[in-house]
Amino acid sequence: MRQAVQPLAPVEATGPHQAAAEAEPIVEIDALNKVYRTVRHGDVHALHEINLNVRDGEFVAIVGPSGCGKSTLLKILAGLLAFTSGRVTINGAPLKGPSQEVGLVFQQPVLLPWRTILSNVLLPIEFGRNRKRKDYTDRAHDLLKLVGLEGFETRYPEELSGGMQQRAAIVRALIQDPRLLLMDEPFGALDAMTREQMNLEVLRIWQQNRKTVIFVTHSISEAVFLADRVVVMTARPGAIARVLDIDLPRPRRLEMINSEAFGAFASQIRRLLNASEDLS
């Protein structure tokens, strides 16, 4: 792929505040293939020869037509799905199953309706190794405050709006302080205005906590607005068409959407997506 693979030699000197381009890769994907074997439709080649490195602290967006394997890729990275061939390394270690270092946000909030917001947010703590809930309640309160959900700790999910529920889901993904945050169309179900708000919020969280984010979206402008790099995928089989560096200045502001540079990126991505659609 076009991004330079970082030398594997120890580059210890790079601090967390170093530019993303110089940080070491947190995710390395090499020649990844995923084939779903189904009885009715035969083999579905969902991912074809995916190569992608994501550097520590980077914000990567993935766009692509429906069915190109975006969710499949995220599920593999989350350790929920076995892949067919290739090599995936997270934090230098080969991927084997779910990890505390990875937080996951779905398109729907997936909050448990019988738990309060606080209890939902602390759910990951109750799973896996023995950990004490109370060691994490302070962090939960801080994170809820960060996303503007202070005072809603004892409410139940259905008493919250869709946007608020999705914020709670983000807090839940952050509760274990993962280095990598995987988001699969997290705001797809929200209206345009709430969505813009949430985008700003995600950038704020990302900047404050120095996470690495892989963000799947259907929205080209969302991808350009948020990301350092945009991965454009094509369908049948799902493959990477191009990876674009978005060198818009940070912090990003909503006005930038109207800028010429922004428009240029957006139309370039649209052309790539249309070209792949014409092929199929």
Binding site: S99, L112, W114, L123, F127, G128, E158
Partner: protein, 302 residues
């Protein structure tokens, strides 16, 4: 007991009924909270009203047509039978409490065993798609059988004690919970499972923190059905052959043509069924408040 007709609380308290002399200053004070209640929760006013009206019709029919008492005893007679049946000590086999206790014990034991087994086996079956597919045709076939048909067999096997009744009730309550537990476990949003798995949840944790609570609304639907069936099972078991229980007592009084007592026993059965139902509803409100909430909110907004 002629009281029921002459008191006629219906006419005295029915607000829109007669504006004439009934609506005196006293009536006025009574009317305002009642009207408020009628607007807020009309069922709390209308349900008792319907009861009074039905009893009045019954009484009128008994007075006007004078049917033989072994066909339709007047409500007053049924009331007396009920009072005398309930005034006996719980240890006196000639009163109602003793037999109600026996029937309640049979129904509750069968209900607990049957629904407990239904939930456990249902969840286990749903855990494996293969087991579920293999067993499903049998489950459906057995479920469509009228299971009370085996009652006479159980009496031959286990005699006239309470065991065959508990067994029938167990079988009869088992199936709704088996089927509903399977349906409930299959209805769990796969994203909830993914969420738990992505946090390294063990299968046990997934079951107790995700699958079981998600399936609770289905399980409670099954429990409500089973609650009704449990009393039915106990009564049918007693009909086939028993030494005690409401079912046995109904048969006995029936043979004596003491029909007023039979009607009084229906009232006892209805009270048992109603209290079981209310208990289930309270439990459901407590454990499944989150699935009720939506429906209640919908009602409020109408």
């Amino acid at each position: 007991m002629v009281d029921t007709a002459t008191t006629h609380p219906a006419t005295a308290t029915r607000p829109p009924g007669r504006p004439g002399k009934a609506a005196g200053p006293q009536g006025g004070r009574l009317e305002i909270p009642l009207l408020g209640l009628l607007r807020e929760r009309p069922e709390y006013v209308l349900s008792p009203l319907l009861f009074v009206v039905l009893i009045a019709i019954w009484h009128a029919a008994a007075v006007i047509f004078e049917p033989p008492e072994f066909i339709l005893p007047p409500p007053g007679m049924v009331w007396s039978a009920l009072v005398s049946g309930l005034s006996a000590s719980p240890f006196d086999p000639s009163g109602f409490w003793y037999h109600a206790g026996v029937t309640a014990f049979e129904a509750l034991s069968g209900f607990l065993i049957g629904s407990g087994a239904g939930i456990t086996i249902g969840m286990a079956v749903a855990h494996s798609r293969l087991v579920e597919r293999v067993l499903y045709p049998y489950i459906i076939a057995i479920q469509s059988l009228p299971k009370i048909a085996v009652a006479p067999l159980f009496v031959i096997w286990f005699g006239f004690g309470i065991e065959p009744k508990i067994l029938i009730t167990t079988i009869i309550t088992f199936f709704p919970l088996l089927v509903n537990s399977i349906a409930g476990a299959n209805s769990v949003d796969p994203a909830r499972i993914d969420l738990a798995r992505s946090c390294n949840a063990t299968p046990m944790q997934i079951f107790f923190k995700i699958t079981l609570p998600s399936a609770l609304p289905f399980i409670f639907a099954g429990l409500n059905m089973a609650a009704v069936l449990s009393i039915l099972g106990a009564i049918v078991g007693e009909f086939v052959g028993a030494q005690a229980g409401i079912g046995m007592l109904i048969l006995q009084r029936n043979e004596l043509l003491d029909i007023a007592s039979v009607y009084a026993l229906f009232v006892v059965l209805a009270a048992m069924g109603l209290s079981l139902h209310l208990t289930m509803r309270a439990l459901e409100r407590h454990f499944c408040f989150w699935s009720h909430r939506g429906r209640k909110a919908d009602l409020d907004s109408v």
